[in-house]
């Protein structure tokens, strides 16, 4: 009886939560586009056609063409693939590393905790985008360096989440009980304690992907992102800037793509937050 009751409550929350639903739909839509890029893209994203340079939206080119005559719609579609893959990979890596480090720091405490957390404090003393810029400055632009940069600045956040969960759970009785029944410390940490941090991590992870897409776009805009001719939403934007006056469509469409994607992830992440951690008297 009680089980049914809590399932019923979750269901009510999910169906009432339009935000999560809309977000999920948008995310799904973008993911599908990214996956099907080779199939649905009308042109090759690199195919230049200098005769049709900078034409506005038309029947042949729904989003128009850029300075090299490349089809913007195709570039936007392929750009989705690249943005999504970089951001999700980077966030995934930072979750793995961050949660691991934060968890062992909190669980074993002592000097390990001090060193790890101090190091993260130093990392956190740099605004995210600045840290990313610094890392790109060191390693140079390019896809894998971009992933590295994003992973590095994202790690401390997840480490903190893991750490605070572990700190509050490790004094609880079930941990002692597990120890007494002979479980190894690592086992206890990863199988029993850490799963409690799952929901905030999922929520943060979703929001971080959104943020990563923004950062990738920012870096691309500055010229520090993926190098052309790879279709990248943002690098395209920076090229577009030069031609704003005459051909605004070159800037508008990639920007809209970024905007909708990021918004989708933000909606979804927020919605997830509502579902997994409902606040008492808020709605």
């Amino acid at each position: 009886m009680k089980y049914n009751n809590s399932m019923a409550i979750y269901w009510r929350r999910i169906s009432k939560n339009k935000m999560a639903a809309i977000g999920a739909l948008i995310v799904l839509f973008i993911v599908v586009i990214a996956i099907l890029a080779p199939v649905i893209s009308p042109y090759e994203p690199d195919a230049q056609d200098l005769y049709s340079s900078l034409t506005g939206p038309s029947k042949e080119h729904w989003f128009g063409t850029d300075i090299y005559g490349r089809d913007i719609l195709s570039r936007v579609i392929w750009g989705a693939r690249i943005s999504l893959s970089i951001s999700s990979l980077a966030v995934f890596l930072s979750i793995l590393i961050g949660v691991f480090l934060g968890a062992i720091a909190a669980y074993f405490g002592g000097i390990l905790d001090e060193i790890i957390m101090r190091f993260f404090d130093i990392l956190l003393s740099f605004p995210d985008i600045l840290l990313a810029i610094a890392i790109i400055a060191i390693l140079g632009p390019g896809r894998s360096n971009l992933i590295t940069a994003i992973t590095i600045y994202s790690i401390p956040q997840f480490a903190r989440i893991a750490r605070s969960t572990v700190v509050s759970e490790k004094t609880k009785e079930y941990v002692d009980a597990a120890r007494l029944s002979g479980e190894s410390e690592m086992n206890i940490l990863f199988r029993y304690v850490l799963p409690n941090s799952l929901s905030p991590i999922i929520v943060q992870g979703t929001l971080r992907i959104a943020y990563a897409i923004l950062i990738i776009s920012g870096l691309g805009f500055l010229g520090l992102g993926i190098q052309p001719p790879t279709p990248e939403w943002e690098t395209d934007l920076s090229i577009a800037r030069t031609y704003l006056r005459a051909s605004p469509h070159t800037g508008i469409f990639p920007g809209i793509a970024i905007f909708i994607t990021v918004m989708g992830f933000n909606f979804f992440g927020d919605g997830l937050n509502e579902i997994l951690n409902p606040r008492m008297k808020d709605r």
Binding site: F221, R241, F259
Partner: protein, 306 residues
């Protein structure tokens, strides 16, 4: 309170140390020989040797570190491109960034708090939904795209406002609005959430049952409590704006420090890159410290006299 102050101040020192070390190490983390990197492509081995000599790259790392930090303040550390002391280059640019960030944070706070309070007091009405929508849109929009759009509208199409540069007060408007929008969105959301939480607290119930009129309850009793966490967010966002303004600066050609750092990366002017990053990071650390202390000062519960 004094103890807390001193403790926090002491804790800063290792962080500042770490930050300066990291900034210093930038050049040494680049794969390859630093001297070769600075010299650039097409440099002869003589050129590289000169560079090595000039930058003291043959000396032990610790000595280099102290030379680095000392060189910034003494003016010995010079920009490669301009041959001027880095401190002369980065200081005025930093000041420009600070001005823009200050303008931005004031805009963001005023607008954000107002929107948040109104949304909280008119929960579940159109205004509330609009505010939530604004909050989500504000953090989802790429900031430079927003800047571009504003330029297209107000400079190109309407010709009301300048598209770039820092000439007069009017130049502040577009970049300021651009910079402030994502932060305003965050502040609005934070204020709303904070207000909603406060309004459910017992002491609000006490005030209401004693007959205090609704406006007073909201704008005096609730707001003062609700703003405490908001102050933290405002401070952090300000610190963040100092470093994160780089995108806005680039869109509007604002002569700020972030933009200088990025440009220096392309010209491989590493002294500028390192010292620029160091300055931004240090100011971020100090802003965070100020926020912590401010928080303790505002909340009477933290003012224990031990």
């Amino acid at each position: 309170m004094n103890n807390y102050f001193i403790k926090r101040l002491i804790l800063i020192i290792p962080i500042l140390l770490g930050v300066s070390l990291l900034s210093f190490f930038i050049i040494h983390l680049i794969p390859g020989d630093p001297a070769r990197v600075i010299a650039g492509q097409g440099a002869t081995s003589d050129d590289i040797a000169v560079i090595r000599e000039e930058f003291g790259l043959d000396k032990p790392l610790m000595e280099q570190y102290f030379a680095f930090v000392g060189g910034i303040f003494s003016g010995k550390l010079k920009s490669i491109s301009s041959q001027q002391p880095v401190i002369d280059e980065i200081t005025p640019r930093f000041w420009n960034t600070v001005q823009l960030a200050t303008f931005g944070i004031i805009l963001a706070t005023v607008f954000g708090v107002l929107l948040g309070v109104i949304a909280a007091t008119h929960k579940n009405t159109i205004i509330d939904n609009l505010s939530t929508g604004f909050s989500l849109i504000g953090v989802s929009m790429p900031i430079f795209w927003l800047g571009l759009l504003l330029i297209m509208l107000f400079s190109v199409a309407l010709n009301w406002l300048p598209a770039g540069g820092k000439d007069s007060f009017i130049s502040f408007i577009l970049p300021g609005i651009t910079l402030s929008l994502p932060t305003a969105a965050i502040i609005a959301r934070m204020t709303r959430a904070s207000m909603l939480e406060i309004v459910n607290q017992d002491f609000i119930r006490t005030a209401v049952s004693n007959g205090i009129p609704q406006k007073t309850v909201i704008y005096k009793y609730a707001l003062k409590n609700a703003l405490i966490p908001v102050v933290t967010v405002v401070g952090l966002q300000f610190g963040y704006m100092l470093g994160g303004a780089v995108l806005t600066e680039s869109v509007f050609g604002w002569p700020g420090l972030g933009r200088l750092v990025v440009q220096s990366i392309f010209t491989r002017d590493y002294p500028l890159v390192q010292s620029g990053i160091l300055l931004i990071a240090m100011s971020f650390v100090f802003v965070n410290l100020a926020v912590d202390l401010l928080y303790a000062a505002i909340d009477p519960r933290l003012r224990r006299k031990k």
